[in-house]
């Protein structure tokens, strides 16, 4: 049994990912079948951003992971062994 905070964070993550998936699905899969002047279009950015934004996010993530790994390796580097 996880603690209350863990449960809140975990189910929060699940809810967030489901929401993101639903929103992105509507944006990418449903929106092309909707008329250009429909109300639904108000809630979404132009189509090209549906690729640009994930690309930027992926780049930021890679950059973050890269710096993180570099920082950890830098901190843990062992002094040269003397034979």
């Amino acid at each position: 049994q996880a603690t209350g905070a863990d449960q809140a964070v975990g189910f929060g993550l699940v809810a967030f990912s489901l929401l993101l998936f639903a929103y992105y699905s509507v944006w990418v899969v449903v929106l092309p079948f909707v008329d250009g002047d429909h109300v639904l279009n108000k809630y979404f950015l132009p189509r090209e951003y549906s690729v640009i934004l994930p690309g930027v996010a992926a780049l930021a993530l890679l950059l973050f992971v890269g710096t993180f790994i570099t920082a950890v390796m830098w901190k843990n580097r062992s002094p040269k062994k003397v034979d």
Partner: protein
């Protein structure tokens, strides 16, 4: 001995795999075949995607279809990311905390410390 045991285990495991997947996992060339299968599948998907998104065969696909097909790689990536995030969240939420065991362990440590201190160990 360790090496002998490891070897025997390895042999047993590989013979088990050969029983489960006859012919497919014959010692050598396993990785190559799998890699080839993956590459083949991925390139097939890529070709289908390009044909649909850019209408390379001039099939006069409706613009709507092409609009849906074009961001498909990004869509698959985002879907995979969402799925991974959901799995992580679910595992965090249902993680099995062993609070009872933790309390017990802390008690044991405390007892051991007291016992050692009684015997004159300083730390």
């Amino acid at each position: 001995e360790k090496t002998v045991g490891g070897l025997m285990y390895g042999k047993r495991l590989s013979s088990l795999l050969q029983v489960v997947f006859p012919g497919e996992l014959a010692a050598e060339g396993v990785i190559m075949t799998k890699l080839m299968q993956w590459l083949f599948g991925v390139s097939l998907l890529a070709v289908v995607w390009a044909l649909t998104a850019y209408d390379l065969l001039d099939l006069n696909l409706p613009q709507t279809y092409r609009d849906v097909a074009w961001p498909m790689p990004a869509y698959l990536l985002v879907s995979f990311g969402c799925y991974s995030l959901a799995v992580i969240g679910y595992r965090v939420a249902t993680f099995n905390d062993c609070e009872e065991a933790s309390r017990e362990l802390r008690m044991h440590i405390k007892e051991a410390r007291e016992d050692l201190r009684k015997k004159g160990l300083r730390f």
